[in-house]
């Protein structure tokens, strides 16, 4: 009998920055792992540039070992991604790795403009239903009645509005080739989300249009739950509000 390795950290996972600065049980690590896996399986590690804004999702980008990794001002991730994609004549695969605050709060204008222009980039939004880095304040994706540090009584729609559904919102944009939402709370959802990410990167390789994947991810520190309770909360509360699946999958834009 001999021992062979069947699974360790993905090839494009970067070890040198460990120990990671994410909290115990924070699933941003799994989001970065999925991106690394998808990139490895498509064989584009040396050609992929990851752009990341401010927020916990910015830490994800420190975990990837690809062609380049760039931090940019808060919310301007899609703009910087556009600039890099165009300045290099569309050659690299550009991934904007964002959190929900970066993507749909301060960066909503950038995302919508990129979608209107049909920019050939891939946007990944990790949705943890609050602003994690600054201490768990209300975000556009916070669920109704969810307690955050700025809505101690729970989110009241009369005062704070309704949750944002980003992939559904992007469907009518003609420049958008792919929009999907996945989760990583079970092994089955993990595999499904990896397929979404591969499909999204493939849209960019085929030069069709903007591809977008939202990933629901646990935030134990700011939800004030244990990591395993967070997975249950995603299953029971978040998935009914944010249904998983592919919302748009266009082979060409005309």
């Amino acid at each position: 009998m001999e021992k062979i390795k069947v699974r360790g950290a993905p090839k494009s996972w970067q070890r040198s920055t460990s120990p990671l600065t994410i909290c115990p049980g924070c699933q941003h690590g799994v989001v970065a792992e999925l991106l690394c896996d998808a990139v490895d399986e498509l064989g584009i590690q040396g050609n992929t540039i990851v752009i990341s804004g401010i927020g916990c999702a910015g830490i994800d980008a420190f975990m990837v070992d690809m062609d380049a990794f760039i931090m940019c001002p808060h919310g301007r991730t899609c703009d910087v991604a556009t600039g890099i994609k165009r300045a290099l004549f569309g050659k690299p695969i550009v991934v904007a790795l964002q959190g929900d605050g970066d993507c749909i709060a301060i960066g909503a204008g950038s995302l919508i403009s990129a979608a209107l222009r049909g920019e050939k980039i891939t946007v990944i939004m990790a949705n943890n239903a609050n602003y994690g880095t600054t201490g768990g304040q209300l975000a556009p994706t916070t669920l109704l009645d969810q307690v955050t540090s700025t809505t101690p009584e729970g989110r009241d729609p009369g005062l704070a509005g309704y949750p944002a559904h980003v992939p559904e919102m992007l469907v009518p944009f003609r420049g958008v080739a792919y929009a999907a939402r996945g989760a990583v709370n079970t092994p089955a959802n993990y595999q499904r989300t990896k397929r979404y990410l591969k499909a999204a990167l493939q849209k960019q390789i085929d030069n069709i249009g903007l591809s977008f994947v939202e990933i629901l991810s646990a935030c134990p520190a700011n939800w004030h739950r244990t990591p395993v309770e967070c997975l249950k909360w995603i299953e029971e509360k978040m998935i009914p509000e944010y249904p998983l699946g592919e919302f748009k999958n266009a082979d060409r834009i005309d």
């Binding site: 009998m1 001999e2 021992k3 062979i4 390795k5 069947v6 699974r7 360790g8 950290a9 993905p10 996972w13 460990s18 120990p19 990671l20 994410i22 909290c23 115990p24 049980g25 924070c26 699933q27 941003h28 690590g29 799994v30 792992e33 896996d37 399986e41 990583v184 092994p187 993990y190 595999q191 134990p220 244990t226 990591p227 395993v228 997975l231």
Partner: protein, 85 residues
């Protein structure tokens, strides 16, 4: 039956317990008296007989602390990546 083994790197583990939760065969436990280098509770692999190298623990570990090994007969050692697909 396929037999497997995992190693948990205590430099990277943050003791979240996802591996214990997701191992359907109960191969991992957090005994409570072992700690990682950063002071979190360290999970321990206990069951060499039951682990079938499914690698679910390594998928779900957010900190990439787990490596999964499979036992094969000597000679047939082309690694089969069960994580893809």
């Amino acid at each position: 039956m396929t037999r497997g083994e995992i190693s948990i790197d205590e430099r990277y583990c943050l003791g979240c317990g996802y591996c214990v939760h997701f191992c359907a065969r109960g191969c991992i436990v957090i005994p409570g008296d072992r700690f990682t280098t950063m002071g979190y509770l360290l999970p321990v692999f206990i069951n060499l007989e039951r682990c079938n190298a499914c690698a679910v623990c390594a998928w779900m570990c957010p900190h990439q602390a787990i490596e999964v090994y499979k036992y094969v007969e000597s000679g047939q050692n082309e690694p089969e990546d069960i994580s893809s697909g």
